[in-house]
């Protein structure tokens, strides 16, 4: 099928302002959704769902969260891991107190607590930016991780210091805990991620998204136009942290099953940041591409030597992994700062005018 927009005229602004104005793109999205909802659970086995698909969705959501803050609003943060932790611990406390309420409600509510904490730690962003803001969010990260380790109340005074995810059902079907099947957890994660991605996409295409980008590109001019800097930045922190918080709760409840405080360490912050950078700053699609590359590539690489009949020690494979991912990050920073998403856009543009060079 040809990728062309010839003959697709928009006769009103509503049609022109659609997020996917080109028909082929809309069909493409529907196909992807059908594959994600039906194809993946049918074809992918338990291993694929638990190790590849569900984690990919969760990382992508966190990457969208960070991308709203860093890619769209231009505010750097290394607190992602901490904000994800807030979501997870809040969800855990809430489901402990109110076991009868549906767990999906508490996963989404966990994000609200993260949003509040994120906005609080975002307050310094009015005065400081760039490197100094990075350090401020780093402090938030360390403080939160300290709290997760040192406040036993957060993990219900459990001797091991971990969150143990209880079994919770939805319409009689277990969706968290040991008895929940990989397919159920995957489908729940997919529903949440699709819904929140849709909302995030609406947001960035409207007034609020434009005000974020304006602050990112030239905060002085934004102020002059009447955009209030502090509320705009705080809203970005809050919504970014909301998505990260939900992703954190999903990480524990739909993927890990139990979690120690170290899960929400600075490593997690960096992982999400790399996904955003490689995927593309200021692109929601990029968050998915970045999550796919950073999470899925190592799994594939691990599978390559055995598949080729090579007998390489697993520690060597891990080192190779780190080197390849590290090299990719540097390559992207140097050659394509807008990441995979920009490569995708360029490719699409070429396809649109093919066979002419431009």
């Amino acid at each position: 099928m040809l990728y062309r927009e010839v003959g697709q005229y928009h006769t009103n602004y509503r049609a022109d302002m659609r997020i996917f104005p080109i028909l082929q793109d809309r069909i493409g999205i529907l196909v992807i959704l059908a594959i994600a909802f039906l194809g993946v659970p049918l074809i992918g086995g338990s291993f694929f769902l638990d190790v590849v698909a569900t984690p990919f969705l969760i990382y992508a959501l966190a990457a969208i969260g960070l991308n709203l803050l860093t890619g769209y609003t231009g505010l750097l943060s290394l607190g992602t891991g901490g904000f994800m932790g807030i979501g997870a611990y809040t969800c855990y406390k809430l489901t402990t107190w109110f076991p009868g309420v549906d767990i999906v409600v508490w996963i989404l509510a966990g994000g609200l607590a993260a949003a509040a904490v994120g906005a609080l730690f975002g307050l310094p962003s009015l005065r400081i930016k760039g490197f100094y803001l990075l350090v401020a969010t780093l402090a938030a990260q360390f403080f939160l991780q300290w709290a997760f380790e040192r406040i036993p109340w957060l993990y219900n005074n459990n001797i091991s210091g971990t969150i143990e995810v209880p079994t919770r059902t939805l319409f009689g079907l277990p969706i968290t805990g040991a008895t929940a099947t990989p397919v159920t957890r995957y489908e729940v994660a997919l529903c949440i991620v699709v819904a929140l991605t849709w909302l995030a996409s609406n947001l960035v295409h409207g007034r609020i998204g434009r005000s974020w980008m304006a602050v990112r590109d030239m905060d002085i001019a934004a102020e002059l136009i009447g955009i209030k800097l502090l509320p705009t930045k705080l809203l970005s922190f809050a919504i970014s942290s909301y998505l990260c918080g939900v992703a954190g709760a999903m990480l524990v409840f739909l993927w890990y099953g139990s979690a120690e405080p170290t899960v929400f360490s600075i490593d997690l912050s960096f992982t999400i940041l790399f996904m955003v950078i490689i995927g593309g700053l200021g692109s929601l699609l990029g968050a998915f591409l970045g999550a796919a590359l950073i999470h899925v590539l190592p799994i594939v690489l691990r599978g390559v030597p055995p598949a080729l009949g090579l007998n390489i020690a697993s520690s060597t494979v891990e080192h190779l992994n780190l080197m390849i991912v590290g090299a990719l990050i540097i390559l992207f920073l140097v050659a394509e700062p807008f990441g995979l998403a920009r490569l995708w856009q360029t490719g699409k543009q070429k396809l649109r005018v093919w066979p002419f060079p431009y």
Partner: protein, 265 residues
């Protein structure tokens, strides 16, 4: 032309600056400057490099806070403006070195200019339906009219960072117009333009002033442009006001000629 300028000069004062002094450490950027801008006029501010013209605009829209002096806008007495207040009260501005949102498209830059007039909250923005969409479309119409007016239809979807300088200046004017300002401050809108682009820009400025009745304060180095466009001219030199009159009189003024010759010589 003379009739029009007489009428305007007799009109109501929109903005008056009174005894403004602004210092940066040892540098006196403005020294006891007073003048007024009447509703509906094009008021030029000229002077040699470093005379304090940009500083004056920065004081008017609240980027700089003068050590002394007062500003009266629409009869309201203010010791100092702040950028948000200026924006909400209908003062828009373009910059000497273009201050666009470089990563955003022309369309988005202009839509951002409507920020103050759009107020649908987070809930509807999340859904991008109903009232939020209606509001978006309503403002898109206004913005498209400005795009037509400035003849920038072809670059609607181009990120402005990739546009040539002349077009960027035009988009920046568009963003200021999207605010539907009462007072428009233009800081050298024609520098770096070729003759044709300058002519276009002059036409836009005259039309904005003539059709929408927007009051304009214009900084410009090109004397021909100033003589053609403006109703009255303020001349600054080393932060002091050395002349304030209609263009024909300013051109003859001995102090002005000396200031410009001093720079040339």
């Amino acid at each position: 032309m003379t009739d029009a300028s007489v009428n305007v000069a007799a009109g109501e004062t929109l903005l008056a600056v009174d005894g403004i002094s602004l210092r940066f450490g040892g540098v006196t950027a403005l020294n006891d400057v007073s003048f007024d801008i009447k509703r509906g006029e094009i008021r030029a501010i000229i002077g040699p490099n470093g005379a304090g013209k940009t500083s004056m605009l920065n004081v008017i829209n609240g980027f700089y806070h003068p050590q002394r002096g007062a500003i009266r806008f629409r009869g309201q007495n203010l010791t100092r403006m702040n950028p948000g207040f200026a924006a909400r009260n209908g003062i828009a501005r373009t910059f000497q070195n273009v201050a666009l949102f470089r990563g955003m498209t022309t369309l988005d830059n202009l839509m951002t200019g409507r920020a103050l007039k759009m107020n649908r909250g987070l809930f509807w923005q999340l859904l991008r339906h109903g009232p939020a969409m209606d509001e978006e479309i309503e403002h898109r119409r206004v913005v498209e009219d400005i795009i037509d007016f400035l003849e920038i239809e072809a670059i609607r979807r181009v990120p402005v960072g990739r546009l040539p300088y002349g077009l960027q200046k035009r988009v920046e004017l568009g963003r200021a117009l999207a605010m539907e300002p009462e007072l428009l401050l233009l800081d050298e809108p024609m520098t770096g333009m070729n003759l044709e682009e300058k002519e276009d820009m002059c036409r836009f400025i005259l039309e904005v002033n003539g059709q929408f009745g927007t009051t304009i304060a214009l900084i410009e180095h090109d004397m021909g442009v100033v003589m053609d466009l403006s109703n009255r001219v303020v001349v600054l030199d080393y932060g002091r006001k050395i002349a304030d009159d209609v263009p024909a009189a300013v051109k003859q003024d001995a102090a002005v000629i000396a200031a410009y010759l001093g720079v040339a010589g």
